[in-house]
């Protein structure tokens, strides 16, 4: 017992276990499949948020173009699903049956060559991660080698997001344009639109997200994590200790890109389509705020931040659509001005000392684990939104 307890305390895994319980047990029991599917969708943004924790919180590099990777991952998945949905039988109404509908609308008469490999699921899954990571590598290698950092990097990632959006929209014969790729139906014959499939996908998604958190936590606890933190404060010292600082940043950027891409692919599977509205600048910045609200240093906090903002968005846009933007604005400004470390920081600075005071008599004092992910601060905060949504649903 004590061994487990120690393990939980040491790595800050306690909050992880709580999150896992919430995602895997509480949500599925408390929500109907419609709400659960929504949560699943939010959690796909969680991948981006934890990627940003690694990149921004740990690496000190802010990217305003994470939507690019989310989108690329999503598109790679969507291409496979779209091809499967476009068998000659169900597209016989087209002038060229057997190719995706949007190609037919744009007078393409044959499947473009670079689409061919996406007929294979293993290739598509490989591409989901490989394409975004490769792009991330090319972009970041060039820039970090030349010491482009901070604000400049953020602005260039924005430009990349803009370029990709314009490209996707402009090349609609190959990409589906503004509409994106819609009407995705089956994965190797398995209908992803049924309630059963949505449950399965939700658990796969939650599992992957928890796995991703563990992976990132492991990286944080490795020397690489120490170096990332060290670089953020004393970049020159790290460089003059013989480390190739730029490669560490490239790694963080590629890691964040790969995670975002997995999120994108899971988004496509759960929502049933992919569109360029995720690639652009606005969604990319929104994803940054998910991480900022949760706490840019806390993996678990970032997931809570994502859930909280999205629950808020859904709730407010249903009830007070006009207020939503004001609330979003207030969140941005408030978090930046008052709680730079987000909910996790709030938990560290207020809730934890309070809990400690209450317990101070019995339990031994806990060692402060500097960047420990926050635990129960967020769910407490999220409760009003949650209960409003959950009430009356069948369990």
């Amino acid at each position: 017992m004590n061994a487990i307890k120690n393990w939980l305390m040491r790595g800050g895994y306690g909050s992880f276990v709580i999150l896992a319980l919430i995602l895997v047990v509480v949500f599925p029991l408390a929500m109907d499949i419609f709400r659960l599917n929504l949560v699943g969708k939010y959690l796909t943004y969680g991948f981006v948020a934890i990627g940003l924790v690694m990149l921004w919180g740990y690496g000190g590099v802010l990217s305003l173009g994470q939507g690019v990777f989310f989108g690329l991952g999503g598109y790679a998945m969507a291409m496979f699903l779209k091809l499967e949905a476009s068998d000659p039988e169900s597209t016989k109404i087209q002038s060229t049956p057997g190719i995706p509908d949007f190609m037919d609308w744009n007078q393409l008469t044959a499947l473009p060559l670079w689409w061919e490999p996406f007929k294979s699921l293993p290739f598509a899954l490989f591409a989901v991660v490989a394409v975004p990571v490769l792009l991330a590598f090319v972009v970041s290698f060039a820039m970090f080698k030349r010491r482009v950092g901070g604000v400049y990097f953020a602005i260039i990632t924005q430009a990349v997001a803009l370029i990709l959006t314009v490209l996707i929209i402009g090349q609609q014969g190959y990409t589906g344009g503004v509409n994106g790729m819609t009407d995705l139906k089956t994965l190797l014959g398995w209908d992803i639109r049924t309630d059963g499939a949505k449950y399965v996908l939700y658990f796969v998604n939650a599992g992957l997200l928890l796995g991703a958190i563990l992976l990132c936590r492991w990286i944080q606890l490795s020397k690489l994590g120490t170096l990332l933190l060290a670089m953020r404060d004393k970049e020159d010292r790290v460089r003059f200790s013989g480390y190739d600082v730029s490669m560490f940043k490239v790694f963080a950027f590629c890691l964040a890109a790969g995670l975002s891409a997995i999120g994108g692919a899971m988004f496509t599977l759960q929502v049933g389509f992919m569109s360029p509205s995720f690639v652009g600048i606005v969604p990319s910045i929104e994803m940054v705020i998910f991480a900022a609200i949760g706490g840019r240093m806390s993996l678990v906090g970032a997931v809570y931040g994502t859930l909280l903002v999205n629950f808020g968005k859904t709730y407010f846009s249903e009830s007070f659509p006009d207020l939503w933007l004001f609330l979003m604005a207030a969140l941005f400004i408030g978090v930046v001005m008052a709680f730079p470390n987000g909910l996790a920081g709030l938990y560290e600075s207020h809730v934890k000392p309070w809990l400690a005071r209450r317990r101070s008599a019995g339990a031994p004092a806990t060692l402060p684990v500097p960047p420990a992910p926050a635990g129960h601060a967020a769910p407490v905060k999220a409760e009003p939104a949650l209960s409003a949504r959950v009430s009356g649903q069948t369990a």
């Binding site: 690489l224 003059f240 190739d244």
Partner: protein
């Protein structure tokens, strides 16, 4: 000059910022095991010289050879791995990490991305940390957060972080600035101890300290070398006196 016994051979080194020559056609040779002190008035180009050697600044012209290998075009981390260590003027340590972590991170293993991922703190690392910590007098402070150390201790820690890598050339920019007399004394001893098996370049203003540690002194002025030699000789040089007193 091709192959030499010098650990460091700098020839015709020039760097200019928008036409202003901070280092102007400079030549400097450093022997193995030598402790060289560079002195000179403010703006003479001392720190710029160290920046050029370690790669922080790129040379406009000239050559820097370390153990007969051309360094001028190499990136900083490669120069460090070749054996050049640099300490900055203000103590540059990881304040949020423990002393132990500070030293551990500086251990020259697992320097690539995946190497760092797989790095484990084994006995070899611990032994090295203990050894260095003993040298810099922080053996009993290993678990302390580095930010809580005194100013002098921070300076020593940074030197210790360099020692973790066993560099063949160690460059220290004003290591005793802001130290108490007692700390200066300890630092001088430390420097004399560590230069036994490596070369050291020190930038310093404190003449008493300089005369205590220096094997040889180089006087810089306006990006050029004004004089070079043993302390007594340099101190007697009328050009040097002129530069120091004429201003």
């Amino acid at each position: 000059m091709s192959n030499t016994d010098f650990v460091l051979a700098i020839e015709d080194l020039t760097v200019s910022f928008d036409g202003f020559k901070a280092i102007d056609n400079l030549n400097l040779y450093l022997d193995r095991g030598e402790l060289r002190v560079v002195i000179g008035p403010n703006g003479a180009g001392k720190t710029t010289l160290l920046d050029l050697i370690c790669g922080k600044t790129r040379a406009s012209a000239g050559s820097i050879k370390f153990k007969n290998e051309e360094m001028t075009r190499l990136p900083e981390h490669i120069r460090v791995r070749a054996g050049i260590g640099r300490k900055f003027q203000t103590p540059s340590i990881y304040e949020n990490l423990s002393v132990f972590k500070n030293l551990e991170v500086s251990f020259p293993r697992g320097r690539g991305v995946f190497g760092a991922l797989g790095f484990r703190c084994d006995d070899e690392v611990r032994a090295k940390v203990d050894e260095v910590a003993g040298m810099i007098g922080l053996a009993d402070r290993l678990d302390m957060e580095a930010g809580l150390l005194s100013h002098g201790q921070k300076q020593w820690l940074e030197i210790g972080m360099l020692l973790m890598q066993d560099p063949e050339l160690l460059m220290l920019d004003e290591p005793i600035a802001g130290m108490s007399a007692k700390e200066r004394e300890l630092t001088a001893e430390l420097l004399l101890r560590i230069c036994r098996n490596r070369s050291v370049i020190v930038i310093e203003h404190d003449m008493e300290f300089v005369s205590r540690i220096a094997h040889k002194v180089t006087v810089m002025h306006q990006g050029k070398i004004l004089a070079e030699g043993p302390m007594e000789k340099v101190q007697a040089d009328p050009k040097v006196i002129d530069v120091y007193l004429g201003h």
